[in-house]
Symmetry: C2
Subunit: 102 residues, 2 copies
């Protein structure tokens, strides 16, 4: 038995944060965007074409992911290049992928 095994509930605030984090992954469009960005950083239009979805829809969802700090962006001329905020994001995707493939 591991010493650090959990035997108590986490704090309400932490549970809130966990649920909020997972909400970002609870929609196909956002998961697609995140997967796309694991392949390569991309501008809004690239994402829009690659995922065959309206620019507006992509843009709205990018805002959600941005606010959750799962992605970051950098302006380049007329474009805005989005990329994953860190490796943790891919880890979360991979973990889910493993789960559904078991």
């Amino acid at each position: 038995m591991l010493v650090d095994e959990m035997k108590e509930m986490p704090l309400e605030d932490d549970i809130y944060l966990v649920a909020e984090l997972y909400k970002n992954f609870a929609d196909m469009t956002r998961v697609k965007i995140l997967y796309a960005l694991t392949i390569s950083e991309m501008c809004v239009n690239d994402l829009s074409e690659m995922l065959e979805m309206s620019q507006s829809s992509i843009s709205h969802q990018l805002r959600v992911l941005k606010q959750a700090r799962l992605i970051k962006y950098q302006k380049k001329g007329k474009n805005v290049i989005y990329s994953l905020a860190d490796d943790h994001v891919k880890l979360l995707l991979d973990q889910a992928y493993e789960h559904i493939k078991e």
Copy 2:
């Protein structure tokens, strides 16, 4: 560079499953239930009291988690004892916890 690094989008169906999986974790009540069950298996009334929520609400959410195969149950007299389906579930919780604590 890792050999198995992803350079393609997963299939639409797999993305759907990933999003569906994460939906289960995208609600505080369900996350609370799952955390509670990492501590110990429990009947509906235990959960209801522990989380200070109505029996009906807990029962509805247990159904969702059951359908997602994240929990299993076993009847014991008048009670129904719920427990986590497998270790993977705790892993998914832990991963999120790490993320919010970084």
